[in-house]
Amino acid sequence: MEPIIQLRNLEKSVEAGPNRFFLLRRVNLDIQPAEFVTIMGPSGAGKSTLLSIIGMLDGAWTGEYYFNTEPVHRLNVKKRNELHKANIGFVFQSYHLIDNLTVFENLEVPLSYKNVPHKERVSRVCDALDRFNIVGKKDLFPNQLSGGQQQLVGVARAVIMNPKLILADEPTGNLHSAQGDEIMQLFKRLNDAGTTIIQVTHSERNASYGHRIIQLKDGWVVGETATADVGANAAQPG
């Protein structure tokens, strides 16, 4: 099976006065469909930058990036946006729900940007509300929800387009452990159902939900380990 993501010699740098400062260096990485990959590393290692590039939010890099064999590095911005819109869902540490929209409307946003007809939008949002057990919250605004509930909506919003790939940047960083576990189990279920997931986290406990850990340091990929090798302290999904 072809990998869903292939990165070849991917580099990202920024100008810093007369010098060039590399955020990512010669990153080579293959991620298979339905894989659950964790990116780890110290602050400033380039984790979120890598996630942004994989998520096609950042187009200023060099190297090769194939998404489902599609050469992203050769696509123009419009095509890249289409590819991103069709295949990728995001979950953020700060949830990033839109404050002035209700839960229902927040879930509707990605569908509306893909010009999904109104009737279908309503039906898919209702399904998601039902599936994530948040029907009772549909008319509430984000500031009326707890952190866990907000992230639940964040995940629901990420999956509502049935993406092939979900990118999660510290998805439980702002949650207490019980809420965090709930979200991670949700990811696990989605992954079991076939969705590829890449998460960035500092938490080994969260990393243990995945299949593989990519270690980054100073922009370099410094190691890859299967989850089974993660230390014995890591909790296992229940």
Binding site: L57, N81, S94, H96, L97, I98, H118, D169
Partner: protein
């Protein structure tokens, strides 16, 4: 459709979420759009609203014009007759002129505006009388028949709306006219009248009645209705033929320098006001641009706080185009709210605006808010929404997604670019405001100059009352003099009256009669065209014109005595060039009249030098000349009073009525009011340009305040650090003020350059000050700098009071 609806719903919610922001933005836009709506309503009514005649675009005015110039001259009745021979392009052709009539009723008289018109006048306009008929060719032939078509208003007033009025007689200027028709209600040919500005014509008579008289027969505007399908090119080639023909037939009138020209009737009406109205429209357009810049600035500031939302939407798959559309929807919604409020403001202010308008403003009846104006306001609101919303929307979506999302609470990463744009907008606001204020400054300086200009007489404590004499009773100079004496005697007897005089053919500061003279004994006797006034002996004393040489008229200067005249200084200077004018003679109406006195110059137009003027004693005036001028210019009683002149208005009127109730009274005004009236257009322009300039300055002040206040709020931490490092409050204050002033000075620099270029548009309005008057430019710059300083001082003081401990915890 659904997406638009959804965008609108979100937009409405966004606006509701920030009521303070929305209120400020909507109010700013309402001021800009409302003022634009009001001025456009005037411009549309005067210049653009289609005339209420069938196929108005087929009506043209034919005139003689200097090649390559737009000033046009009326034609003579002979030329009109010949033009009728060129039937091909014209379905109908007609001439008209303007006179006043005294309409006598049982025991009083009223003065009405009348129009002698040629037979096809109503056909040219395409309007038939509602009752009776229009003129027949034979009625407008030879000396003309005494027949009249009445306006609907006069018919109601004079005949109580009786359909049997047709065929009955009306007595005008002592002569009986048979009523042959009544025009429909609201009929107004909109032919502007220099003699009766703002007064509607109420009666139409055949042009032939006046066509052979001097003056009337030589100043005939000609209009024509083109045959269907006649193109401007066809008409032009026809007019070229007419030009060649007229150069042969009328070599004295149509010369090599002049051509026969045409232009749409609609364009002719209001053409004199066109440049001024367009200046106002341009000026108010500047105010709208400033309002847009202000709201754009507010949006740019706000987009900083919406960076996260926008980044999230982009991350969720929104295209930039979709986001820009949504942000523009918010702007447009805000602009539409501003437009609706602006429309209400314009509607409320329209009455006051028109009350201030000079009486020379034509088509005032056509100035009204209607569906077309609503459409204009709607379109301007939409355009405004896009204009002020587009740049902030584009900037808002040009965010660095990964950075913004990483920052969590969405601090703008395009802050630098946004800040530059905001500063640029404020500088532009100051530049535009400077142009407006300079215009206003030049108008104020002009007005001050005019007010300090000596009109040649003392307008204080002088009352005037216009009147017209009914024809048959006053059929000789003697009869007129008897009335004059009786009226003067009664007025002299009123308490508070110091001097009384009567003048015919024009008051100072108003248009008046001109007439041909010749200097007796001149080596090269040339025809002189000078101002002509008939006066009673008390006139100069009553109006306060000083006698420079010789003597004034006395009761002894009678119809039987030696003919005498008094001239003004300009006349003496121009035609006697250093010679002593007293005892010299001028030919006036073939009579040799001795110059017995020279009086000071009195101005007809404050901004122009006094014109040579000849004063004739009313007792020696030719009756025919006197009556001719009365058709255009009212006679005026001039009363010098010891107190407030207007308190004597009613007693003076009663004194006239007591002598003869059939004397038609006109306006009763103080000479101060006449002076004010002569400045009406400039006063109107000065007031509006000052208002717009003030509004612009206020908005620019708010704009710079907003930018500096925002910059201070963004830099609170930096300022805290500086203070922790030892910066003194005064240094912080100077730093912030300096930043604001740098912006303002940039704006003023561009503004001065633009003003230097644009001020020539005011050329026709400015008097006594240079178009680039340094005093005006310096004053305006100082005022703007002061406002900017005040606007920047408030946030600068806040910055200087930052507590380092609090500031360093700010983030």
């Amino acid at each position: 459709m659904l997406t638009i609806w959804q965008d609108l719903r979100y937009a409405a919610r966004m606006l509701g979420k920030y009521p303070g922001f929305t209120a400020v933005a909507v109010l700013t836009l309402a001021l800009g759009i409302g003022a634009n709506t009001a001025i456009f309503t005037v411009v549309y009514g005067v210049l653009l609203r289609p005339l209420p005649f069938p196929e108005p675009d087929r009506i043209v005015q034919l005139a003689e014009a200097y090649q390559g110039q737009s000033d046009e001259m009326d034609l003579t009745s002979n030329q009109l007759d010949h033009l009728c021979e060129y039937g091909q392009p014209f379905e109908h052709i007609a001439g008209y002129t303007d006179v006043g009539f005294n309409l006598a009723t049982a025991n009083e008289a009223e003065h009405i505006r009348g129009m002698p018109v040629s037979a096809e006048y109503f056909q040219v306009l395409g309007v038939r009388p509602a009752l009776g008929r229009g003129f027949l060719r034979e009625e407008d032939h030879g000396d003309g028949e005494h027949v009249a078509v009445l306006s609907h208003g006069l018919w109601i007033r004079r005949f109580g709306g009786d359909p049997g009025a047709v065929g009955r007689k009306v007595l005008m200027d002592g002569e009986a006219y048979t009523v042959i028709g009544v025009m429909p209600q609201g009929f107004d040919p909109r032919a502007s009248s220099e003699l009766n500005p703002g007064v509607r014509a109420e009666v139409w008579v055949p042009l032939a009645l006046v066509a052979k008289t001097a003056g009337s027969g030589e100043n005939i505007p000609v209009i024509a209705r083109l045959r269907p399908g006649v193109t401007p090119a066809q008409l032009q080639s026809q007019m070229d033929v007419v030009t060649q023909d007229f150069r042969v037939r009328y070599p004295g009138d149509v010369t090599k320098e002049t051509v026969m020209s045409f232009r749409p009737y609609q364009a002719m009406i209001g053409s004199e006001m066109r440049p001024f109205l367009l200046i106002l429209l341009g000026a108010i357009g500047f105010v709208l641009l400033i309002a847009c810049a202000n709201v754009a600035n507010l949006l740019l500031a706000k987009s900083g706080s919406r960076g996260r939302e926008i980044a999230v939407r982009l991350a969720l798959g929104a295209s930039r185009c979709q986001l820009v559309r949504q942000l523009i929807t918010e702007s447009i919604l805000m602009a539409l709210a501003g437009g609706a409020l602006g429309l209400a403001l314009a509607s409320a202010g329209m009455g006051s605006l028109l009350a201030m308008a000079p009486s020379t403003l034509p088509r005032v009846g056509d100035i009204r808010l209607d569906a077309r104006i609503f459409a204009f306001t709607f379109a301007v609101s939409l355009l405004t929404g896009v204009l002020f919303g587009l740049a902030p929307a584009i900037y808002a979506t040009r965010t660095n997604l990964s950075e913004t999302l990483k920052e969590g609470e969405g601090r703008a990463s395009a802050g630098g670019r946004r800040s530059r744009l905001r500063k640029g907008l404020v500088a532009a606001e100051f530049a535009l405001s400077l142009v407006l204020l300079t215009g206003a400054g030049l108008m104020i300086a002009t007005f001050a100059k005019l007010l300090s200009t000596d009109p040649g007489f003392d307008p204080r404590h002088v009352l005037t009352m216009q009147f017209w004499l009914t024809g048959s009773k006053y059929d000789s100079t003697r009869a007129i003099m008897n009335l004059y004496r009786a009226v003067e005697q009664r007025i002299e007897a009123l308490p508070g009256v110091k001097n009384v005089g009567i003048v015919a053919a024009g008051l100072p500061l108003e248009r008046g009669g001109r007439k041909g003279f010749a200097i007796a004994g001149a080596k090269e006797p040339e025809g002189i065209n000078a101002n002509y006034r008939e006066i009673t002996p008390g006139y100069f004393a009553a109006i306060g014109v000083p006698l420079e040489l010789g003597r004034r008229f006395t009761e002894g200067d009678s119809a039987t005595s030696h003919p005498v005249v008094i001239v003004n200084e300009s006349f003496a200077r121009r035609y006697f060039d250093g010679r002593y004018p007293i005892g010299e003679h001028v030919y006036e109406n073939g009579l040799l009249s001795e110059i017995i006195g020279v009086v000071g110059d009195v101005k007809t137009y404050l901004d122009k030098p006094a014109e040579p003027t000849v004063f004739v004693p009313a007792s020696q005036a030719l009756y025919a000349t006197s009556k001719l001028f009365e058709g255009w210019f009212p006679r005026s009683i001039v009363v010098e009073t010891s107190g407030d002149p207007l308190t004597l208005g009613q007693p003076v009127r009663e004194a006239v009525t007591a002598v003869d109730p059939l004397v038609a009274p006109g306006a009763i005004r103080s000479m101060d009011q006449v002076l004010t009236h002569s400045l009406a257009l400039r006063s109107f322009m000065m007031f509006l340009l000052s208002l717009f300039g003030g509004l612009a300055l206020f908005l620019a002040g708010v704009g710079i305040y907003g930018v500096i206040a925002y910059a201070v709020s963004q830099r609170t931490r930096e300022i805290g650090v500086r203070m922790a490092m030892g910066a003194q409050p005064g240094q912080v204050l100077t730093m912030v003020l300096g930043e604001g002033l740098k912006l303002v000075l940039t704006g003023l620099l561009f503004g001065v350059a633009a003003a230097l270029m644009l001020m020539r548009l005011l050329e026709g309005l400015v008097y006594g000050v240079g178009m680039h008057d340094p005093l005006v430019f310096i004053s305006v710059n100082l005022v703007m700098l002061f406002v900017a300083l005040v606007a920047c001082y408030v946030p600068a003081r806040r910055a200087a009071r930052v507590d380092p401990l609090v500031a360093l915890r700010y983030e």
